[in-house]
Amino acid sequence: MKVSFPHMGNAYIALSALLSNLGAEVIVPPRPTRKTIEMGALHAPEFVCLPFKVNLGDNFQALSMGADTLAMVSGTWACRFGYYGRVQHQILRDAGYEFDSILLGRDGVGAVYNKFADTVDGNLALGWLRAYRSFGAKARAVDALESKAREIRPFERDAGATTAALSNSLSLVHDSGSVKATGSALDHGLELMDAVDVERKDEPLHIAVLGEIYAVLEPALNFDIERRLGDMGVMAHPVMTVYKWLFRPLKTDPSILFEERRARKVTRPYIAYVLGGEEHQTIAGTIDAARKGYDGVIHVFPFTCMPESVCRAILPQIEREYDIPVLNLCLDEHASPTGVETRLEAFTDLLRQRRRKKPRKPA
């Protein structure tokens, strides 16, 4: 079985570990580029949200690389994400590709569990256990490396040194086999990051990055906003991480569940009903950013995203109430890196001026 799945930030590292431990050959499509997005947009419905188009482009590339099975999560939610797998796979079949679908959520846990009965090496249950452990170890390792990079990037002496160290460390983790090897790959990676030459600078600007989860996590969609901010000497604080996204539906990590519940509670006065997206993370994240004394918030979301459009209408009220500046970035396949760069520069300039007038209160 040659299995593939769409990209979402660095989630492919943990997902590849999961699938390869189940005996499947994993086809990782190249990281999405403008070309991927164009290919997806060509075949996708006109005004579907951008992640759909990027994912579809990923699938096209995976199939042309020889994948014979495509995996996707699926569900019947208020957000369109639940229908991605169903519609994308139909589009691909109509385009003439033949492949097997794994729609996690719609196919049922049992069906997905047994799918790997023929490929797994030895006992199926033990295979899943091994896969899950490796998946968890790699997800945590990626998370640790990403947050390390976030901390040092604003202070690096040589531009781009952190990004290079991060990408080397991530490939160490990706290439590691056993859980033990992942552990030492992580240690080695952290050493690489520590070796990045840093200089003391003034306290950097702190900006929370939040909004639609894929827009926050996928550099291809948000023009690598985290790196861009870091290069500008700004400390970015994404509200969501790949680790949280992967482990939230598994409900194994109590701290994620607790945070979810708290975010819902904070959001309720502003949005009384659950909308089915990341609206609670957006609203609660903005309020938290103000409470933690961050300088600003960047709200990124794909054009036509339904839950985030509601947030977009409500955020100005929170901006006033909590006195925190919010930059809304609504992105689609026509957005340009220069446009985003200009807006980021203008926003950070504004925040620096604001900081001069009103010194940052300690966190």
Binding site: F47, A78, I91, A272, Y273, P307
Partner: protein
């Protein structure tokens, strides 16, 4: 008398007879916003988030038109509009609509929020809360509620019989008010020789300003129009059983009706009317085209509307669609 304003948008098309009877039964005066016009739309667009669908922008426009001439503003929170065994929702924008309005429109009169969550039988509890907010006695609430259900049932029957919401309301209220606007489909055209099914959200199809009077246009071209509202709920339910489930309640109707019309012999063409940036429709439109339509289905076209759609554009596309159907059947 306390004036309660109801925006002529979104839930108006489906539930207005219920709201009107209920609010009048509770001793208030119902004020309806004016039919959509250019100014109203422009106001809505200015006050609303840029990248949102036109029905929400229209709703803003109607709220702005109403807010200074009423004592209370009646806003519905549409959570689900059909009974179903599984969980269903409307679009997140409709669920969050009252929150959006409260956050982004200044100088609002006190808002009465009415939750419509049909699957959770919210009509009764929402009515009770509404009555309490208006200081009505429990017996009055009960009386008004049962009368409004009757009126709504009569209205639904009229819709099922093929009337447009406007005509159906006029029939139900026997001509007192709420009949302004261009009547749709009044027979000033040639004798109809084509049966065209119109599917789309009623708040889009029957807003004559934004749909450029699509139903009337079709009948002038010699088409009999069948509306999505003419498909009985049990037919929709049985049609839906043929496809994997979806959970948007408005779109379930779209999918069920599309499947019904696309498998009917006496339908000559199906028009799917959606608005630009509609989230659920972007998916369901694709499902209809790829899963529902078959080789033997009547022609299907999708008409995308937004606030920039020109009348000439709509006219050209509708005419082209009708001409093509006629040509293909050798009926010049």
């Amino acid at each position: 008398m306390l004036k309660v304003g109801i925006p002529r948008a979104l839930s108006y098309y489906r539930y207005f007879p219920f709201f009107k009877t209920l609010l009048e039964g509770l001793g208030t005066e119902v004020v309806l916003s004016r039919p959509t016009g250019k100014r109203l739309l422009e106001d809505g667009v200015r006050h609303c988030v840029d990248d949102i669908c036109v029905p929400v922008k229209l709703f803003y426009g109607h709220v702005l038109e109403l807010k200074d001439r009423v004592d209370r503003l009646f806003i519905t929170r549409l959570v689900s509009v059909e009974k179903s065994d599984s969980d269903t929702y409307t679009c997140p924008k409709l669920i969050g609509l009252p929150d959006m309005i409260r956050s982004s429109v200044e100088g609002l009169p006190p808002v009465i929020e009415f939750v419509i969550d049909v699957q959770n039988r919210s009509l009764r509890s929402s009515t009770r809360r509404l009555g309490e907010a208006l200081n009505a006695s429990p017996s009055l609430i009960k009386k008004a509620f049962s009368r409004s259900l009757d009126v709504q049932a009569r209205y639904d029957e009229k819709l099922l019989g093929g009337l447009t919401p406007e005509d159906a309301m006029e029939a139900v209220f026997s001509g007192n008010g709420s009949s302004d606007g261009v009547p749709a489909g009044s027979g000033d055209g040639p004798t109809p020789d084509l049966n065209i099914a119109l599917i789309g959200h009623e708040y889009l199809l029957h807003d004559h300003f934004i749909s450029h009077n699509l139903p009337g246009r079709l009948s002038r071209l010699g088409c009999d129009v069948e509306y999505i509202t003419q498909v009985p709920p049990d037919v929709i339910e049985s049609e839906l059983a043929r496809y994997p489930g979806i959970s948007w309640s408005y779109e379930k109707e779209l999918l069920g009706a599309a499947s019904h019309f696309l498998h009917r012999e006496d339908i000559d063409g199906v028009m799917l009317v959606v608005c630009f940036a509609c989230g659920p429709d972007s998916i369901v439109g694709e499902i209809i085209e790829r899963e529902v339509r078959t080789e033997s289905s009547p022609p299907l076209t999708t008409l995308v509307l937004d606030e920039h759609t020109g009348q000439a554009g709509v006219a050209t596309r509708v005419e082209a669609f009708v001409d093509l159907i006629r040509r293909s059947r050798g009926k010049p």
